[in-house]
Amino acid sequence: MPRIAVTVDGIKYEQDVEPRLLLVHLLRDHLGKTGTPIGCDTSNCGACTVLLDGKSVKSCSVLAVQADGSDVVTIEGLATNGSMHPMQQAFHEEHALQCGYCTPGMVMASIDLLRTDPDPSEEAIREGLEGNLCRCTGYCNIVRAVKRGAQNVGATS
């Protein structure tokens, strides 16, 4: 079994992994990082989205061995000093979650969206989140939240 070294939410792990082990299963089953859920088996839903070296990926479509030497940030690693990331805060303020199952992925994808477009239009948000499915909210409040999150992030940076 290959041995990998990966940093997840600021903690370094060294782990023997099966070559076929998915990153999302490494996180959930081996590292106890259950904040990142799984919603499908065809890389369609985006629930499992994390940041891999700063860019959003669907962690169900990455092998754990591919993350060797990388830095992974999950929804559990966003808060600093006990306060939520501005994007998490914006999701709360705008009621952009109901059951919350899509939420970790939505938040991570939204943060990544701002990396390339710090002030996205409604259309850019809708297109940018196309790979993340939500069954509860109808997306209206998610769009609002990402807009507010962009303002919050802008204000704090």
Binding site: E18, R20, L21, H25, R28, D29, G32, K33, T34, G35, T36, P37, I38, G39, C40, D41, T42, N44, C45, A47, T74, I75, E76, L78, A79, M84, Q88, F91, H92, E93, H95, L97, Q98, C99, G100, Y101, C102, T103, P104, V107, E122, I125, R126, E127, L129, E130, G131, N132, L133, C134, R135, C136, T137, G138, Y139, C140, N141, I142, V143
Partner: protein, 793 residues
């Protein structure tokens, strides 16, 4: 041991001597309490649960729609590394029982045996035939491949009309008809005799896959005697009762926990094969077991929704006044009757008259077996189907008479001054104001301006045509008065339970029997209790979803939680206050009649003497000086049975642009004005409406579960079954009118299903409206570009 000193406790716990709660909570757009854990990844999904020594379960599923099982050999799988056990259906034949159907709708109903793991015959693709239990997920999945199963193919039965012919192969020996159910009022023949206009249409409600984002998951553990099951379910209480009834394990030996549940929409209102089998596997192996479904497995085996063929006829006068409506349904049950499979069309049976007045109504429904996944409740269950057929047919009536579709609706609907109104279907609508909701929606939408634009585009022969769709809906929800459920042969009641526990420090623990999975009960119930008891919102916590904590409950479905469950909590608060009033009178040495309650304090009328509810709670806890006969607690329980259904209503308007060259549709604007009665939390209500509309639009434009000619599900993955993404949907304009329900003290009506019920016909009416000049009268859902384009050829 030192004696408890209430004064010391009071000081330490900061028990207020002045009331702390001032403003009204009910009606406030509180941000949700639930969000903190959901937003930071500290949610407790069932699949997150890890127990020492836990084993992983995987099921082998039938690749055949219909076949006799002639051999199952699990021996090779047993030999593989990590595999602890492997079983065929026959290994559990003696103990697995038959999955329950709780709604035997008619005397003649056929309820076939439904073993959780098939061992003689399989009747849909995906039915479990064997299972593996291993020490890891991956090993369990690998081992499935080593199981050998021989099948002797039998003919698939896929088409409902064909299934009912005498020559069709049979799904079950008893035949393909599950039941017939009829209902009528008024003289329907008279209504149709010499009717100046008759509209006669057939609509197809395609099969849908509910697709809650959290796949199902089950964990079950045992101490050798009793069992604890975690399940991603909407119905922990019903599940516990029926697990006991199905397996014979005594009910008091089973605890069911629904931890955080990632959406349901009816799909987790079920007693599933996997739940029963995980319980039996935990018993047999004496170890904790976990099963988590893959999405593709879920598309095959989570019950599907809709799938009806609806024949609707309207008889009307020449001016558009409706005389009567006649409905004949075929409802696809799939291969078996699951929890409420046969009852779903009945929930629509009282709704095909909608908000309209008429002299006669006639409804008939036939349940049909096919070799497909069983259908069951999906958001709205029966009512979206009814509303769709009715609102589509009303548009056809308007077109036939060359009237504006809104005009026909206005002519026929119940006027606001006519409430309470007993409909032709026998329901008494307690309150409503269709005029107000419609006027508001028309203004927000700019109806007249859009009609003018439509005329202009038609005149210009614009390749992109504009269509306007209307849906003026109502629904029956807040399920349900138990006596009504009884009269419809449903197996249980419709009550709900709530308890209020007053903790010594003045904090309040509320236990509710309804089981939230995204609806925000923890927030909304806190608001209700804060107002009722005059305690701070922050001082209330809400517990649910665990049969050991919430010992009674009827769970969550049918937009019932607030209307029934919320009212049970409110009533428990009233009981708490009555006890507190007695204690206050005793403490303040006056008669209970001289005590008035306001904002958390019990005052002696006309004096400044008072005790806060927190002080009284502590006094009851210390119990040093209670009135004679009073038990030392203020806690209270209430179980309430609603006196009536509730009837949210509203007007949804949709404008769709249709490209006549490509068949592409684009929702240009969508306006929804809903009247859900009084609102506890407008933020939550708006969210429910948004999500509901999105699911209704999804049926209109995107989603369909498709089986091929052999009975294979072609839409078994998320790549094939298309849920709309943010890029597929517009921003909805939503507003509300507020006509309080008269059937409960808060005046609330429920909002979980309204958006889904209303939106599907609004969208399809708009698509058809755009294409009327081209002679188009109907497009079968989902109105994909291809279907629209074909309709135009």
């Amino acid at each position: 041991m030192s004696e408890i000193d209430p004064a010391a406790i009071a000081e330490q716990a900061d028990v207020p001597t002045e009331p702390k709660q001032a403003s009204h909570e009910v009606g406030r757009a509180r941000r949700r309490k639930e969000d903190a854990r959901l937003l930071t990844g500290r949610t407790q999904w069932t699949d997150n649960i890890q127990l020492p020594g836990m084993l992983y379960v995987q099921f082998l599923r039938s690749p055949m729609a219909h076949a006799r099982i002639t051999r199952v050999d699990v021996e090779a799988a047993r030999q593989l590394p990590g595999v602890v056990a492997a079983f065929s259906g026959r290994d559990f034949a003696a103990e697995q029982g038959s999955l329950p159907c709780a709604w035997p709708v008619s005397e003649d109903i056929v309820i076939p045996d439904h073993p959780p793991m098939a061992y003689e015959e399989v009747r849909y693709v995906g039915e479990a035939v064997a299972c593996v239990v291993a020490t890891s997920r991956y090993q369990a999945a690998d081992a499935l491949e080593a199981i050998e199963v021989d099948y002797e193919p039998l003919p698939a039965v896929l088409d409902m009309n064909e299934a009912l012919t005498g020559t069709s192969p049979k799904v079950h020996d008893q035949g393909n008809q599950a039941f017939t159910w009829k209902f009528g009022q008024g003289d329907i023949d008279e209504a149709f005799r010499d009717a100046p206009v008759v509209i006669d249409r057939t609509y197809v409600q395609q099969r849908l896959i509910p697709t809650a984002m959290e796949p199902r998951a089950v964990v079950c553990t045992t101490d050798g005697q009793s069992f604890t099951m975690w399940s991603a379910t909407q119905i922990p209480h019903i599940l516990r009762f029926l697990l006991a009834a199905t397996t014979g394990i005594p009910e008091h030996m089973i605890r069911v926990i629904a931890p955080d549940v990632g959406g349901g929409f009816g799909s987790k209102l079920q007693v599933t094969a996997e739940e029963v089998l995980c319980l039996l596997l935990a018993r047999r192996l004496g170890k904790p077991v976990k099963w988590t479904e893959s999405r593709s497995e879920g598309n095959l085996t989570v019950h599907h929704g809709r799938d009806q063929i609806q024949h609707i006829m309207i008889a009307a006068e020449g001016d558009g006044r409706i005389r009567g409506i006649k409905v004949d349904l075929l409802a696809d049950m799939g291969a078996y009757l699951m929890l409420v499979t046969p009852g779903v069309p009945l929930l629509g049976a009282f709704m095909y008259n909608g908000i309209y007045k008429m002299d006669a109504y006639d409804f008939a429904c036939t349940g049909v077996f096919t070799t497909k996944m069983p259908t069951d409740a999906y958001r709205g269950a029966g009512r979206p189907e009814a509303t769709y057929a009715l609102e589509r047919a009303i548009d056809e009536l308007a077109h036939e008479l060359k009237l504006d579709p809104m005009q026909v609706r206005r002519l026929n609907w119940i006027k606001h001054e006519e409430f309470p109104y007993t409909t032709i279907a026998g329901l008494t609508y307690d309150s409503g104001n269709y005029e107000a909701a419609t006027d508001r929606a028309m203004a927000l939408f700019g109806y007249d301006k859009l009609r003018a634009e439509q005329a202009d585009r038609r005149d210009r022969g614009d390749p992109v045509q504009l269509g306007l769709g209307i849906s003026t809906y109502t629904e029956m929800c807040g399920l349900a008065p138990s006596r009504v459920l009884g009269s419809l042969s449903y197996g249980a009641g419709g009550w709900e339970h709530g308890s209020v526990r007053m903790l010594p420090t003045g904090k309040v623990e509320v236990v509710t029997g309804s089981s939230a999975h995204g609806q925000g009960h923890e927030t909304a119930w806190s608001q209700i209790v804060a107002d009722a008891l005059g305690v701070p919102y922050e001082d209330v916590s809400v517990l649910h979803g665990d049969t050991a904590i919430s010992h009674k409950g009827m769970d969550t479905y049918g937009s019932r939680s607030l209307v029934v469950g919320g009212m049970a909590v409110l009533q428990a608060c009233e009981k708490v206050k009555e006890k507190a009033r007695r204690l206050a009178a005793h403490t303040l040495e006056c008669s209970p009649d001289d005590i008035e309650f306001s904002q958390g304090a019990f005052k002696v009328k006309g004096t400044s003497q008072q005790k806060t509810i927190q002080e009284l709670t502590l006094a009851a806890f210390a119990a040093h000086d209670l009135p004679d006969g009073m038990e030392p607690r203020l806690d209270a329980d209430a179980t309430i049975d609603p006196e009536n259904f509730s009837y949210p209503h509203g007007t949804h308007l949709c404008a769709v642009e249709v490209d006549t060259e490509t068949g592409q549709t684009k929702i240009r604007s969508y306006v929804a004005v809903d009247d859900v009665g009084r609102v506890v939390n407008p933020l939550i209500v708006e969210g429910q409406v948004h999500g509901g509309i999105a699911q209704g639009i999804a049926q209109a434009l995107f989603e369909e579960a498709v089986y091929d000619a052999e009975g294979n599900l072609l839409t078994s993955t998320m790549a094939d079954y298309l849920l709309p993404s943010a890029a597929d949907l517009p921003t909805f304009v939503t507003d509300r009118t507020e006509t309080p329900a008269t059937s409960n003290p808060l005046g609330v009506k429920g909002v979980g299903e309204a958006g889904t019920i209303a939106s599907t016909p609004a969208v399809v009416n708009a698509v058809v409206d755009a294409l009327r000049p081209q002679g188009v009268h109907d497009i079968q859902m989902p109105c994909t570009p291809e279907r629209v384009w074909r309709a135009l050829q």
